[in-house]
């Protein structure tokens, strides 16, 4: 038993050291900063300790930004599930010997520059863009196009995070015993009932893992809302970015980063042990 423990920890040690030094330590520093007095950006965190940054971060003025961020992230997660599940199921069930190729095909677009892809959407959603033109044929076009709308932001985020949903869902589908579905039909259940009673519980670990990989990172994203959204599209992420990039207020930015970390912990705890085998 002890030997096994030593062996496992020995194999994990390099990873542990790397993450400890370059991920955990920085996160601890962020927590430290969040309690610091506003500093000049040169020295280390400035004493005395204060909770001022948190009071500022929780100011009602930021409430619409929090709400918008969570709405974007939530809508993105739902959209990724709705698109990702049929795709993952189809590849796993009907992909045959082309499964690996199809799965790789999901990832190929992501070998192009992330920014180029967002700009491509920008062009497609433009007032004179392809989407608006095609919709114009059936009279569904919109004056000025779909750029700078909430829908454009959710679309861009969905596009960016879809692979992170498809991959865990695919793993879950691969482990799902499709004969259960036949059995359910044989026992007289319909499609809807079979889906909710058999399929969904069967792939739940993938749904949870995928949602986790999409929800929180989407809540932190600021490049997509900035490029595809309208005038006032500040999100949690962009506010944090502003505090650091402009050198404005590191303690406030840190406090907001800590609030996002709290969201991470809440989601991790809510998920509990379910889905752990996939992630």
């Amino acid at each position: 038993m002890l030997r096994r423990w030593l062996k496992a920890n020995g194999l994990l040690a390099p990873t542990g050291i790397w993450l400890g030094l370059f991920l955990i330590a920085p996160l601890v520093v962020v927590v430290e900063f969040s309690f610091a007095t506003r500093d000049t950006g040169v020295a280390r965190a400035v004493l005395p300790w204060t909770t001022q940054a948190y009071l500022t971060a929780l100011d009602p003025a930021f409430l619409p930004i929090f709400g918008r961020t969570l709405a974007y992230a939530g809508a993105t997660t739902v959209a990724c599930l709705l698109l990702g599940f049929p795709l993952a199921w189809f590849i796993s069930r009907h992909g045959g010997r082309y499964r690996t190729v199809l799965l790789a095909a999901v990832l190929i677009p992501f070998w192009s520059s992330y920014l180029a892809r967002i700009y491509a959407w920008k062009a497609l959603l433009d007032g004179e863009g392809l989407v608006n033109t095609v919709l114009g044929w059936v009279g569904l076009d919109r004056d000025g196009g779909f750029l700078l709308t909430h829908g454009a932001v959710v679309l861009g985020l969905t596009y960016g995070f879809l692979p992170f949903m498809v991959l865990p869902l695919y793993v879950a589908c691969e482990r799902f015993d499709f004969r259960l579905v036949e059995a359910s039909y044989d026992l007289g259940h319909g499609r809807v009932s079979t889906f909710f009673r058999i399929v969904l519980p069967g792939v739940m670990s993938g749904v949870l893992a995928g949602s986790l990989l999409v929800l929180v990172p989407a809540a932190g994203d600021f490049v997509t809302p900035k490029l595809l959204g309208g005038v006032d599209q500040s999100t949690f992420g962009s506010v944090i970015d502003d505090q650091f990039r402009g050198g404005n207020n590191w303690p406030l930015g840190s406090a907001m980063a800590v609030l996002l970390l709290v969201l991470v912990v809440v989601v991790l705890v809510l998920r509990g042990r379910r889905g752990e085998d996939v992630l």
Binding site: R4, W5, S113, R117, P217, F244
Partner: protein, 268 residues
């Protein structure tokens, strides 16, 4: 369940369409004769020509490739070890799983500002290649572990036991049995790590130093001033085409080997 897979098939095709529409559009726009991405005015190769002459783009492309290769190599080696470490249950495995899931779920902006604060104010690591390498391994490591682990945990332990029973040393058993079995997952993990590093904007944007701008950061800085340059569109098109070509070659080789193996099996 689907006796009518075409319903599902149609949805899958539509999702693929959604994934490829912007890429196809980029490819079209890369041959555009004007700077515009939204209006196609004529065919031209000028952006490819300008790309070929742009030394700044190539300098940062080179740096980005070196960084992606180095960080993918490190992440793949230590991540694969970790995946094997998690193979069997032991006290504390749950904690390791939580630690490893952190880089997957902590938003990039939080990791970026945290690393900036840490490197600049505490550790005294100068911004640039070193800081970027530390960071890129840290955020791509977990993806390697997840991919390799899913393969390792699905592996039949009896295969390795059989090798041991037949007299193979642990090292030989690992080299001849275990490694070939996990190799596809290790390769997938490495590709994933490479891709994550190669395309990272947010974290890198906090950590680049003078003269060590990665391509995505360079593009981001340029794009926020005057929109994306058509050269970058051309470069993106080339990269997707190259990846797709590699995939096709891989498929052809795999099916050729499968046919040969099938023919050999029939001979026996």
């Amino acid at each position: 369940m689907n006796r009518r897979p075409w319903v599902l098939g149609t949805v899958a095709v539509l999702v693929f369409l959604f994934l490829y529409a912007p890429i196809a559009w980029l490819a079209v726009a890369s041959f555009n004769s004007s700077r515009s991405l939204s209006r196609i005015s004529g065919f031209s190769l000028q952006w490819y020509a300008e790309l070929a002459d742009d030394t700044r783009v190539f300098a940062s492309l080179r740096l980005t490739l070196e960084l992606a290769l180095a960080s993918a190599a490190i992440a793949t080696v230590i991540g694969t070890l970790a995946a094997f470490g998690l193979r069997r249950a032991f006290p504390g495995r749950g904690l390791w799983t939580v630690l490893l899931s952190l880089p997957l779920v902590v938003p990039e902006v939080v990791m970026g500002v945290a690393m900036l604060g840490f490197f600049v104010k505490l550790a005294g690591v100068p911004l640039g290649f070193g800081a970027l390498l530390f960071a890129h391994v840290a955020f791509s490591l977990s993806f390697v572990v997840v991919v390799v682990r899913s393969r390792v945990s699905g592996m039949d332990v009896r295969m390795e036991e059989a090798a041991a029973d037949l007299g193979a040393s642990p090292f030989t058993a690992f080299r001849t049995v275990t490694l070939p079995l996990v190799a596809p997952a290790v390769a997938a993990g490495a590709a994933f790590a490479f891709l994550l590093s190669f395309d990272d904007v947010v974290i890198s944007s906090y950590l680049t130093g003078v003269g060590s701008t990665t391509l995505p950061v360079f593009v981001y800085a340029q794009a926020s001033k005057r929109g994306i340059s058509p050269e970058i569109v051309a470069l993106s098109t080339l990269m997707v085409a190259a990846t797709a070509l590699l995939l096709v070659i891989g498929v052809v080789i795999a099916s050729w080997r499968a046919r040969r193996a099938g023919a050999a099996a029939r001979l026996v």
